[in-house]
């Protein structure tokens, strides 16, 4: 169908510079689409990306809705700098009320999809409803169509659907899709784009599968305006030279995230054998040095000069990855030191559309249950047999796959060992053991989407740089508050974590958007505002208490082996630091922001009634 709208794609740019000024609304139940103006008041207050996503989610998600219900939207949000030369800002954020955690989830993905949405004329796409029969959504500027997904596309693996849509529609079409895992509604099914790029966490792929949306193919020929383009080009080039093309950033191109593997194992931070130790004996087989031997080239996301993607080729498997998280959780945590097996496992997850962090966690748990004699799933720590096929069995829910597809929390509960599930708010934990880096405990427990390392990452100071003590929680509550506020601002740009930027650099870029001088202080306020809206959303929907698996902090569960052996945060210290975090945030002891704090931050939403808040039981 052809959308009628005021702005045609051959105009000289969007309504407002950096934004296209339009939101595409897709109703899968009705099979209809509509465009509406971007709420520019919100765009100014919440920037884009994470912030604007949250503001839209607050509006669009019916309070307390069953996350699987058709009215729970999936929102694709871009940032103001997507489609420009600003390095790493091509990221897309996918958001919904997560069917896994029951709270909000924002999952970020690189590749080229967000810029293409902008070029097609939209800042965001809001997808609601549920298709009667699965569909593929095609967007070519202002022409939007629903194409039946069956029989051709339904069932395709992620590489197949991308290649097929390029062949069927346009060589330059950008594809966002789910694999068989999303179709099967596996709780940790992710959304893929450019094959190796995944909006991984929180089950967006499962929700997309429930909605009957196999893929979105978009092609945009419009433009993103930036005011005075020559001046902007010159300023961006200056920033690249000063901040991007520096020695500090070369790790990205040289090694990418695998460089962390040896560092984390040496520091006792690497989850190993289902979190039973922090150092992996077989690390040398799967660390960066091992990866370098099979590396053939670098790949980059759209508009990124860092180019951190490592292309590996072992003959049987070739492609990007694995990234550090996969090395840790699917490698060390499963006791796997067979690089080829690890690559095959990673490849299977990519093709099926499974988040490797959650998938590896579940497989490691199954191995642990077998090792402890609780239940034999045919999976053994360190053994290739069963391991490489596990993702496929999970997606088909065949054999042991039916149990594994429950996810870590439900699987551990089913067999009476909830203490062996390493998750926060039902989101499986990434590859950093807080026993080797105490600050990570609060980063996990207070993360707004459950077990996540992206909102605050004390690993940088506690382990990589060594500028903060890894075995103390002193001052870490404040550290986490500051970093969460900062990342909320940064992920609204949307800049990638791999540009180690600061507020000053963000201010230098935001002044082009806001057409005025921008202070670091006001950007910190924007970040804190966004974090508080996230908290309000979670309180509105019902959120579990901010907690951590007891093994990760209680004194009696300190590791006995590895580099972090003997270290424990201690329950009392952890509780105190958690309380300190709430105090610093201006939240009460249930984590409810005070009216004074919300007013101070200019938050424009309020809980319907504070009396209705209940912190769900785990």
């Amino acid at each position: 169908m052809h959308l009628s709208r005021g702005i045609r794609f051959r105009d000289k740019g969007g309504i407002v510079d950096f934004y296209r000024g339009q939101v595409l609304r897709v109703d899968l139940s009705a099979g209809s689409v509509a465009v509406e103006p971007l709420n520019t008041e919100w765009a100014e207050k919440y920037v884009g990306g994470k912030g604007l996503l949250l503001r839209y989610l607050w509006q669009e998600v019916p309070p307390r809705i069953d996350p699987w219900a058709p009215d729970n939207p999936i929102i694709l949000m871009t940032g103001p700098f997507a489609g420009t030369n600003v390095t790493t800002a091509s990221r897309l954020v996918v958001g919904c009320k997560s069917p896994v955690t029951g709270i909000y989830n924002d999952s970020y993905v690189g590749g080229s999809f967000a810029p293409e949405i902008k070029f097609a004329g939209y800042d965001a796409i809001i997808i609601t409803g549920q298709a009667a029969e699965p569909v593929v959504l095609t967007i070519a500027d202002d022409t939007v169509d629903f194409v039946p997904a069956k029989p051709r596309y339904w069932g395709m693996r992620t590489s197949e659907i991308e290649m097929a849509l390029r062949a069927d529609f346009d060589r330059d079409v950008k594809v966002l899709s789910i694999g068989p895992a999303g179709e099967a509604e596996i709780p940790w099914a992710c959304i893929s784009t450019d094959q190796y790029h995944k909006a991984g966490r929180g089950g967006h792929g499962a929700l997309m599968g429930r909605k009957g949306l196999k893929a979105i193919a978009v092609r945009g020929t419009g433009s993103v305006s930036v005011g005075d383009a020559q001046a902007f080009l010159a300023d961006v080039l200056r920033m690249h030279t000063d901040y991007i093309l520096t020695e500090d950033n070369l790790w990205a191109n040289e090694e990418g995230t695998p460089f962390l593997a040896q560092v984390m194992s040496d520091a006792g931070v690497m989850p190993t054998l289902n979190w039973s130790t922090g150092s992996f004996d077989g690390i040398e087989s799967i660390n960066s040095d091992a990866m370098q031997k099979i590396k053939t080239k670098n790949r980059a996301c759209y508009q990124c000069a860092l180019g951190c993607r490592q292309w590996h080729d072992v003959g049987s498997v070739a492609g990007e990855g694995p990234e550090y998280e996969t090395i840790a959780i699917c490698g060390a945590n499963c006791g796997i030191d067979d690089l080829e097996a690890l690559l095959e496992f990673n490849h299977e997850c990519d093709e099926l559309g499974l988040d490797t962090i959650s998938c590896g966690t579940v497989v490691a748990l199954a191995m642990d249950l077998a090792a402890k004699g609780v239940k034999d799933f045919g999976l053994r720590f360190g053994q290739r047999e069963g391991y490489v096929n596990a993702p496929e069995l999970i997606v088909q829910r065949k054999g042991v796959g039916a149990d594994l597809a429950l996810g870590a929390r439900a699987l551990a509960a089913k067999y009476g060992r909830p203490d062996l599930a390493f998750e926060v708010k039902n989101l499986e934990l990434p590859g950093y053991d807080p026993r080797g880096s105490f600050g990570m405990s609060l980063a996990y427990s207070t993360s707004d989407r459950g077990g996540c390392h992206m909102r605050s990452f004390p690993i940088v100071e506690e382990v990589v740089a060594g500028t903060l003590p890894p075995d103390s929680l002193q001052g870490k509550a404040e550290y986490n508050v500051v970093k969460q506020n900062f990342s909320s601002m940064k992920f609204s740009g949307i800049w990638c974590d791999f540009w180690a930027m600061d507020l000053n650099q963000i201010a230098q870029l935001m002044k082009h958007v806001w057409r005025r001088e921008v202070s670091e202080e006001e950007l910190a306020v924007v970040g804190e505002r966004i974090w508080n809206v996230g908290r309000l959303f979670n309180l509105r929907e019902g959120v579990e208490p901010d907690d951590l698996p007891v093994r990760l902090y209680a004194a009696e569960y300190a590791h006995t082996t590895g580099a972090s052996a003997g270290r424990a945060i201690g329950s009392e210290v952890f509780r105190e630091a958690s309380a300190e975090y709430y105090r610093l945030r201006g939240w009460d002891d249930r984590g409810v922001p005070s009216e004074a704090k919300l007013t101070e931050l200019g938050v424009d939403v309020r809980l319907p009634s504070v009396a209705t808040i209940d912190l769900r039981e785990r």
Binding site: Q195, V224, L237, A305
Partner: protein, 166 residues
């Protein structure tokens, strides 16, 4: 003569060159209207560079019935790092091909003739548009700056080297 070449082997597929190209010429980021491009298949991890070889090719000039593709002298001084700097020096003077928009009738002969697919109808002006090395300040080279990549580079055509003034 001076022209830009993308090393398909080195290119990471980041599209920075297309973005800079379109912003410089169109006044806004619009890579669908770019004067060079890297054909990227992210699934297979492959790239293929497409750039104008200027006078070294000149197919567009040969087929133009209206003499709208004209030879122009230009001194190119790329910003930032570029791999061939050592060989070519900071700047290179030579000849390129540009579109005389007053003469162009948008007949399409050159679009069909171009072996690299980098001369097209401009969607707004409805005449041919092509690479002019940004009048000597090629933005594509400036923005292909990762020291390990430098995939977009300035090259000289061997046949015309006698004309080079460094």
């Amino acid at each position: 003569m001076p022209h830009v070449l993308i090393s398909s082997k080195k290119c990471t597929g980041c599209h920075m060159c297309e973005l800079a190209c379109s912003a410089y010429h169109e006044g806004a980021y619009r890579p669908s209207v770019t004067r060079l491009f890297s054909e990227v298949n992210p699934t297979l991890g492959t790239t293929k560079g497409h750039t104008c070889l200027q006078t070294g090719c000149a197919k567009c000039q040969q087929v133009c019935p209206n003499d709208a593709i004209v030879t122009k002298q230009v001194t190119v001084t790329p910003k930032g790092a570029f791999a061939s700097k050592e060989k070519l020096g900071e700047s290179v003077t030579g000849y390129i091909l540009v579109v005389d928009e007053a003469k162009c009738t948008n007949c399409g002969e050159c679009y069909a003739a171009c072996p690299t697919g980098v001369i097209h109808e401009h969607p707004d002006r409805h005449v041919a548009f092509k690479c002019d090395l940004c009048d000597g300040d090629p933005q594509c080279i400036a923005f292909c700056q990762n020291p390990y990549v430098l995939a977009v580079d300035l090259k000289l055509d061997k046949a015309d080297k006698a004309l080079v003034v460094s």
